[in-house]
Amino acid sequence: MSEWPILTVLIFFPVAACLVLPFIRGDRAVRVFSLGVGLIELLLALPLLRFDLSASGYQFQEKAAWVPQWGLHYHLGMDGISLLMVLLTVLLLPLCVLCSWTYISRRIKEFHFSLMLMTSACVGVFLALDFVLFYIFWEAMLVPMFLLIAVWGGPERRYASLKFFLYTLAGSTLLLVAMVAFYLAGGTFSIPELSAKSYPFGFQCWTFLAMAFAFAIKVPMFPFHTWLPAAHVEAPTAGSVLLASILLKMGAYGFLRFCLPMTPTASVYFAPLMIAGSIASILYGGFVALGQHDMKKLIAYSSVAHMGFVTLGIFLFTLRGLEGALMVMLNHGITTGALFMLVGCIYERSHSREIGQNLGLGKYLPAYMGFFGLFALSSLGFPGTNSFVGEALVLIGAFAHTPWVGAAAVPGVMLGAAYMLRLGQKLAWGEPTKAKAWPDLNVREWVYFAPLAVLVIYIGLAPGLTLRAMDPTLTRVLDEFRRRSAMAAAEVAAPLPGWVVTTRSELPASDPAPVLPR
């Protein structure tokens, strides 16, 4: 059992299932099969419970030579950050299958094919410890997501899917350049090894900017957010859920995994910019959400605001901030995923996402409204729900960092309350209602909301376990970061001979292309 390659299995089981999928006949059989795959994937994740909560390093590591000429390795590993993200991803696959049970009525096989490929790629992103492997998974999820939006999306799906694809790809091309630069500067593609080296300040600056551009688009941070509302509104429910719950987290994950460890000095240098961007996201997302009358758009803009809290937490460089950021990542995944499912649910009844077409549900769909109320409260960070923990931690960190940063973020919380309560009020008590003949939640819908609701309350009331899972890793990341940025700060104080020169002089002896010019 100790040799069981648990991470590889987690990544490639859905891919293997995709190979079987074309041979399954019948729509219902495809759905049942996909649900089964999701549940088995969930079971396959059970060995992750052996995760040692007190250890700060990578666990369950797997490493094999891949392209020895270029020093590429097939290297997987899991720490506290990736543990939570992977669990979230794996949990969402069966729920996505369930919430598409009746929503998706054509090209069902292809739909589930894309869904499973997405899951594989997402799990892969969080587990890869080789830069190239990471990049491969990072890009591999673009195509299934593009198809999810472009094939099963709403009327503007063409525009939205292209915008999504072009935006994210434009960001990741620069990530590719940064990756190549790191390879030549550090002599390896291995993420842990690259993170242990230090680089000259000039080099850090532009690699930070290249990576931050890619991650900021993915997060998305103001002003790179414009693809998100379009993509969210047009995507089918499952697509929106994956987009909100997992894809956005990859940007934040990238900041944690690459920017902080590899470019600590540049992170400090650019932190004011990133903090400003985060606060802009929080306030802008909140204000724009306030004016929406399309439910999905409203939640999409609220995502921009929530992700602003995440990047804010990361660039405070305090343990509370990082804990908060990771908590918000996790909780936003749970809550916003559930909210998108709720919108999909009501869309199947009213065939409209307009708030005005879905008024007064409270009397006729009490169970639906109950769930909606819970997730809406969670989204606005009501004490006792999961999001409160994360946002409170970020705010504590922000006030500890600089009071005015915290003060600037606080209106975001109030805005959250304003737009969510306004939405909830109209849905529950608005007039005139059309909901008289609509059925309340059925068993299938109960089944996929219940686990998320349990998580909302569990993490809200007892966040201890989650915090214990992430703390050792975050402490390690932060200690490393502090040590190296302090070290590098001394270096910055000394005059440097210029960007290009320092970049060159830093080439190690084991340069993989040691061919000297003739």
């Binding site: 891949w66 392209v67 020895p68 000429q69 270029w70 090209r107 292809e110 190239v132 990049y135 491969i136 998974f137 890009e139 591999a140 673009l142 195509v143 593009f146 198809l147 472009a150 094939v151 799906r157 063409r158 899917s161 292209l162 694809f165 072009l166 790809l169 434009a170 091309t173 620069l174 590719l176 350049v177 190549v180 630069a181 390879y183 030549l184 970049t503 060159r504 080439l507 993989p512 292309a513 061919v515 010019p517 003739r518």
Partner: protein, 476 residues
């Protein structure tokens, strides 16, 4: 060096194919269907196996003008691989009269033979002869498309451009001889190539390279590419778009091995590469005809190959060689689908792909893989090729070229994605006639090609090691 038959085995097999086809074309027997559909691909496959076995052989022949080394054998393998696929692809060509078949394949095989010789030629006049052998056959191939006037036009364009470029090349050859007093690459390698030390040689080499830029369709020698692709039959375009590029790349690799970063010629290469990829990608954005689009895309890909050449390091040359192999594979895959879909041999427009997922789901998948590989998206081989190119070129003095190449990927995604978009997300019009599903063989070979692209993306190491060995031999 002793002459040894096994050293030139791939060429001999190819020569045997040429001779057999020559006899066939003279005999003019009418019952030749089985021959072109079965025997010829098998023979081409045998050539590929021979080339595979000869990987790793070394030697120098014919008064030191013909070198068997890692590079030549790698490219011969690539040529035979491409030739096999091209023959399979062209075996049932709708726009080719049956009586011209033997001649068609004779010219095709002859052109491939010329490319194989090109891979080994290390003396300027030999290079020139091999280049002409491969080009002249191709000049005659382009217009062979039924009674299509556009094909004739394409043929004339190709030969005129070709003649002009070849003249430039010859002119350059004369200058090199005058300036550097040798036509042997081995001698030329030791000579200085700076403007200050050898201005005549630098001009000569630049002009000589122009002939190969034309073959490669590098900006500004690219004007023929879209028109020729457009005019020639789908099957001929598949060949003309892929294999001749191999011949050009192999010579450019040999010539680039003489250069170092920072030389004026290298800078010219870098600038042309950047211009080529940017122009090719921008021009491809608006194309509706798939073959024209691929024509401009090949201009862009010629630019990518330059990234490896200007690195002037073993890994750079290896990456360029590897990338051109991948390029041949992914383009042939794309053309494979086009040829299967255009059952009447017409030019396909983007709209012809509408609803392909419903009509031919497997071919749609193959096309998607090829398109993603052309973009350079993981997990396809196109990504690995591009990654190696960019890694090799970084910190070699042309970092800006790497950034330009990466940004170009973002531009190019739009039109490649268009292929996938039309195939998967746009529904066909109701009145459109559903073409019959391709014969099982067509889908199977398409699947093999797509599988190769994915496989080389997942495990590029076994193939890349040959390219790497070739690069190390050139620049130890």
């Amino acid at each position: 060096m002793e002459f040894n038959v096994h050293m030139v085995l791939p060429e001999l097999v190819q020569l045997a194919i040429v001779l057999a086809l020559f006899l066939k074309s003279v005999a003019k027997s009418s019952k030749s269907d089985g021959f072109f559909a079965r025997v010829l691909p098998l023979a081409a496959g045998a050539g590929m196996v021979a080339a595979g076995f000869s990987l790793g052989t070394e030697g120098i022949l014919f008064w030191e003008s013909y070198k068997i080394d890692g590079l030549s054998q790698f490219f011969k393998f690539a040529v035979t691989l491409g030739f096999t696929i091209a023959v399979l692809n062209a075996s049932s060509q709708p726009t080719l009269e049956p009586e011209k078949r033997a001649d068609y394949f004779l010219l095709l095989a002859l052109s491939a033979l010329g490319l194989m010789c090109l891979a080994s030629a290390v003396e300027l006049v030999t290079i020139y002869l091999a280049l002409e052998l491969s080009s002249y056959s191709l000049y005659a191939l382009i217009p062979l498309r039924g009674r299509e006037p556009r094909a004739a036009e394409a043929g004339i364009k190709y030969i005129l451009f070709g003649a002009a470029a070849t003249a430039l090349s010859l002119f350059g050859l004369a200058y090199i001889l005058a300036g550097q007093h040798s036509s042997y690459l081995a001698v030329l390698t030791g000579r200085p190539w700076t403007w200050a030390a050898a201005p005549v040689g630098v001009i000569g080499l630049t002009l000589f390279m122009a002939g190969f830029f034309y073959k490669l369709a590098l900006f500004p020698f690219h004007f023929w590419a879209p028109d020729v692709y457009d005019g020639a039959s789908n099957e001929t375009a598949a060949y003309a778009a892929t294999l001749p590029k191999l011949g050009a790349v192999v010579i450019l690799i040999r010539l680039a091995a003489m250069l170092t970063p920072g030389l004026q010629i290298t800078t010219v290469l870098a600038v042309l590469g950047a211009a080529s990829m940017t122009f090719g990608n921008l021009a491809a954005l608006t194309q509706q005809d798939i073959k024209r689009m691929l024509g401009y895309s090949s201009v862009a890909h010629a630019g990518y190959v330059m990234v490896g050449l200007v690195a002037a390091s073993a890994s750079g040359l290896a990456a360029a060689g590897f990338y051109s192999l991948i390029y041949v594979l992914m383009n042939l895959t794309c053309f494979w689908v086009i040829c299967r879909l255009a059952t009447d041999g017409r030019n396909l427009q983007l709209n012809d792909l509408n609803g392909l997922y419903r009509r031919a789901p497997f071919l749609a998948f193959v096309l998607a893989v090829a398109a993603l590989a052309l973009v350079g998206l993981p997990p396809t081989a196109g990504f690995m090729g591009k990654l190696f190119l960019l890694s090799a070129a970084w910190n070699r003095g042309y970092d800006w070229l790497v950034v330009v190449a990466a940004l170009n990927t973002a531009i190019s995604i739009y039109y490649y994605l268009n292929l996938i978009r039309h195939a998967y997300t746009v529904e066909a019009d109701g009145d459109e006639v559903t073409p019959p599903l391709p014969a099982a063989g067509g889908a199977v070979w398409g699947g093999v090609l797509a599988g190769l692209l994915l496989l080389l993306g997942a495990v590029p190491a076994p193939v890349f090691k040959w390219a790497e060995a070739a690069g190390r031999q050139l620049m130890p």
